[in-house]
């Protein structure tokens, strides 16, 4: 019924296969993979530079937990919005001097662009076997977190019985002019646009637009605008954003839309020509391991693509969600321009 969950069951079956080591692919990866040797090589480098778009606090926490496991690696990072990170990386690639070792980038399309341009280093670890095929391009990149896209509303101004329960509700006249979304620079909004359009039909976003929704910049600004009363409903948010506000007892409630949950995926890869290739491999090996994924779920409050990792706090198990899996991540990535134009024409209200 939902392609992702079916594949997930296959993944579990694959995990069982791992125990008896029948998969040729796996035995190949295992024979060529020597973690002890990798640890020694990484120890010699002693450094790791992480290029990332994860917010400062969570980014630091992830590196801290990696260092707890491998204290001999001195980690640092350059973190920025996808556009700024790409501007710096593009310049480094053009100059032939790449300063980052590992890349994580929110904008999926741009990330895939680097893969196609040959800017990533191939690396296989047996950990990748736990990731089903739609979550990786074997050896080139692997998705290390899956963020469900949710709705949130002000519990001060919207009674629970009036609250939206589905994406379809955002077109209901009772929410006219009360809903905000994110602007076209958001990679998550692009995934949201693509997946909901695929499942609810091509007219869905036009209806949301005629119901007066407005695009703002950034999930936190959108949530702040719901708290100040500029809007009542955040039509694009994430579990970890809602959680950070709930910790402060903000009057916010989250909705897992009953007509399906779109997801944003975050892949990770090793940059070709980076200064510390072995530390990079060790970091990717750790982040994809069950141990690393438990830390990621704890820090990011997102789902892990691994079946053997726990669910994030406050969210149901992944298998209970009705995931709106896109027909192709590749064509989702390629839809950037179409999305940008349609989104700006629909949700940037002209004066």
């Amino acid at each position: 019924m939902h392609p992702f969950s079916i594949k997930r069951r296959q993944t579990i079956a694959l995990g069982a296969a791992l125990a008896v080591s029948t998969s040729t692919n796996l035995s190949h990866a295992q024979s060529s993979f020597d973690r002890a040797k990798l640890i020694e090589a990484a120890r010699k480098e002693g450094k790791l530079v992480f290029y990332s778009t994860i917010p400062e606090e969570q980014n630091n926490e992830i590196l801290k937990r990696f260092q707890k496991k491998y204290p001999f690696i001195d980690t640092s990072s350059f973190r920025a919005t996808s556009g700024r990170l790409a501007a710096r990386l593009d310049a480094e690639i053009a100059a032939g001097k790449v300063y980052g070792d590992v890349l994580q980038m929110g904008a999926f399309g741009r990330f895939i662009g680097y893969a196609k341009a040959g800017n990533f280093e191939r690396f296989d670890t047996p950990e990748m076997a736990a990731y089903e095929p739609s979550m990786k391009d074997q050896g080139l990149w692997t998705v290390f977190r899956v963020s469900p896209i949710l709705i949130a509303y002000s519990s001060e101004r919207v009674a629970d019985k009036d609250a939206p329960t589905s994406w379809a509700d955002l077109t209901n006249p009772k929410f006219k002019g009360r809903v905000n979304l994110l602007d076209a620079t958001s990679g998550g909004q692009q995934a949201h646009w693509y997946q909901v359009r695929q499942y609810l039909g091509p007219n869905y976003w036009k209806q949301v637009s005629s119901n007066g929704a407005v695009a703002l910049s950034g999930a936190n600004r959108a949530m702040d605008a719901v708290l100040t009363g500029e809007y009542d409903v955040a039509g694009h948010t994430y579990g970890y954003v809602v959680n950070s506000y709930l910790k402060k007892n903000a009057p916010i409630k989250q909705v897992i839309p009953k007509d399906g949950v779109p997801i944003m995926i975050s892949p990770i890869s090793i940059l070709k020509g980076g200064p510390n290739p072995n530390a990079a491999r060790l970091f990717v090996d750790w982040i994809l391991s069950r141990e690393g994924q438990i830390e990621i779920v704890d820090v990011m409050n997102d789902y892990s693509p691994r079946a053997d990792a726990p669910s994030p706090k406050g969210l149901p198990p992944y298998k209970d969600l009705k995931i709106l899996t896109p027909n192709s991540w590749e064509s989702l990535a390629n839809s950037e321009q179409e999305f940008g134009q349609e989104w700006t024409s629909l949700f940037v209200k002209k004066q």
Binding site: R79, R88, S217, G340, V348
Partner: protein, 559 residues
């Protein structure tokens, strides 16, 4: 003048000039190459005018940029120059304290200034001012809407007013009063003396700063981005921002826009040289003087109230809104039902891992950067004012490069330039220092030369005739006379470095992070309550450092 003196002086000025030409010229060359290339920096194979032809599709944005720039420059100049005159030249009460207070809006980044006003005047009950006025006067509709062209002009004007203030106050302080005295002896009133004598005399400072403010307002990003985005109001810079960091990047067109904006302001510099060139502004001569403080009688209380009104509108309201936000458990503009907490400050000071490191890096870079910038700028300003030559005219136009090209574009130029340079500074804290000096040299040069215009050259010539070396002239004559101007210039550059974001956000790493980037990080990935708390801590740090610096300078330990 002895040959040795002239020789060492010329070596120093020429070396400085060439160094600065290289610092600002190298990134410009990279941008020009980029503007002739394809959308990505790797497309350098296909050179052509593609990007410049694409500019013609964006002329509507230029009109918006011009409206915002002209409007905010007029507002900023009117406020800045009037405040400077009142506080420097009249006996308005508590002038010393007010002088420190009126520049406080400049401590905040443009982004935070815009956020403060969005909290105040968002067009519904969500805006604090609107909510108050609506409930007091039973209004149906919110009276203010900051998400508009007028809102952008208003917030930008207030943001740049302290900039104009700092420029004019140095010039007003180093002004000999004899011309004003003559005017008054001949029957001119206070107002007519001010308009006919004082204002024309500080014309170099006024024109210099209005040109800078106009160009900066053309190149500003934060305010139109915060206040224009939800209504689709675009200016050239918000479009450039999209071109660089948006979903479909085109560095070529972004670079072309930057180069075109520079050409535009080079024209402004040329006009300014024409206007200033035909007159003489020397008012500081060999005779001893103290700028006269004009006794305006009972009128001083009227002036005082006007200054206080400015302080309430430009300082108390937006800072108050941010302070209110920083004291809420989660963002709220409902001041009737507020819950107060210090949790945000506790988080920022003791839990957020970046604050201490960013504070340390920022202070190091801002104090070091402002001092180096002022040393270079002092030499260049002297050359521009005293030694007119082809080189000095080239410098005068070139130092507009980092101002005229919007920060986000110039930063890309700096990135492209220094990533290829053989110096091993990319990825270290020194790249930030180098970029700050490059970006803020123009502020230093303009601020120092505004004061230098007024000092009579004969003072220096006399000293050299009696055998003083150039170094002695600088230490014994220029530095003491320029002190008010230098102090204002250092303040200007110091604050500007702390607020710099475009270059910092491209060139920092987690070990060289600075406050502006830390605030922006919170803006991107956290709630406004944290952003407000860190921005206010940043403002407090600026205030304290300036206070300490003034104490040291007053004690005579420096200069």
């Amino acid at each position: 003048m002895s040959l040795r003196t002239a020789g060492s002086r010329d070596v120093i000025t020429a070396t400085t000039a060439l160094l600065v030409l290289f610092l600002v010229g190298y990134p410009l060359i990279m941008l020009v190459v980029g503007s002739l290339s394809g959308p990505r920096p790797a497309d350098a194979g296909s050179l052509g005018p593609r990007a410049y032809l694409a500019l013609f599709q964006e002329l509507g944005l230029l009109a918006n940029s011009l409206k915002v720039a002209v409007g905010s420059t007029i507002l900023a100049m009117t406020l800045g120059v009037s405040l400077a005159w009142v506080l420097a030249r009249t006996n308005v009460p508590w002038a010393g304290a007010l002088e420190q207070v009126v520049i406080i809006p400049f401590y905040l980044s443009a982004l935070l200034g815009a956020v403060g006003w969005a909290l105040l005047a968002s067009p519904s009950k969500a805006g604090i001012l609107n909510s108050l006025l609506m409930s007091w006067f039973h209004l149906e509709k919110a009276p203010f809407n900051v998400y508009s062209e007028l809102g952008i002009i208003w917030v930008s004007g207030l943001h740049f007013a302290p900039f104009c203030f700092l420029f004019s106050i140095g010039a007003l302080r180093s002004m000999e009063p004899s011309l004003e005295d003559s005017s008054r002896v001949l029957g001119g009133g206070t107002a007519s003396t001010m308009i006919r004598i004082t204002m024309p005399l500080i014309l170099p400072a006024i024109l210099g700063s209005s040109l800078l403010v106009f160009v900066l307002a053309m190149g500003q990003f934060g305010i139109p981005a915060v206040l224009g985005v939800s209504t689709g109001y675009h200016v050239v810079t918000t479009r450039i921002y999209e071109l660089i960091i948006g979903f479909n990047p085109d560095y070529g067109v972004a670079a072309a826009m930057g180069v075109a904006l520079f050409a535009f302001s080079a024209l402004g510099v040329w006009l300014q040289i024409r206007i200033l060139g035909s007159r003489k502004y020397t008012t500081v001569t060999g005779k001893g003087f103290r700028p006269r403080v004009i006794d305006v009688g009972g009128f001083r209380w009227v002036l005082f109230s006007l200054v206080i009104a400015y302080v309430i509108v430009a300082v108390v309201l937006p800072l108050g809104a941010l302070l209110f936000a920083s004291l809420q458990p989660y963002i709220s503009t409902n001041i009737f039902n507020a819950k107060f907490t210090l949790a945000n400050f506790h988080y920022i000071l003791f839990e957020y891992p970046t604050t201490t490191l960013a504070l340390f890096n920022t202070l190091l870079l801002a104090v070091g950067g402002a001092t180096i910038t002022l040393l270079l700028a002092g030499v260049l300003a002297w050359m521009l004012v005293r030694k007119r030559s082809a080189l000095s005219r080239l410098i005068e136009v070139s130092i507009m490069i980092p101002v005229a090209i919007p920060g986000i574009v110039f930063s890309i130029g700096l990135l492209w330039a220094w990533i290829r340079a053989p110096l091993p500074i990319y990825g270290t804290i020194w790249i930030l220092l180098l970029c700050y000096v490059t970006i803020f040299i123009p502020y230093g040069v303009r601020a120092v030369s505004a004061s230098l215009h007024q000092i009579d050259q004969s003072l220096e010539e006399c000293a050299i005739v009696i055998g003083a070396s150039w170094q002695q002239v600088v230490r014994g004559i220029l530095l003491p006379l320029l002190r008010p101007g230098l102090m204002a210039a250092w303040t200007l550059v110091f604050i500007s470095i702390i607020k710099e974001l475009s270059a910092s956000a491209l060139l920092y790493n987690s070990k060289t992070i600075v406050l502006s980037v830390a605030v922006f990080d919170l803006w991107i990935g956290s709630s406004l309550t944290y952003v407000a708390a860190l921005a206010l801590i940043e403002a407090l740090v600026i205030f304290l450092v300036l206070w300490v610096t003034r104490r040291i300078v007053r004690a005579g330990a420096i200069l």
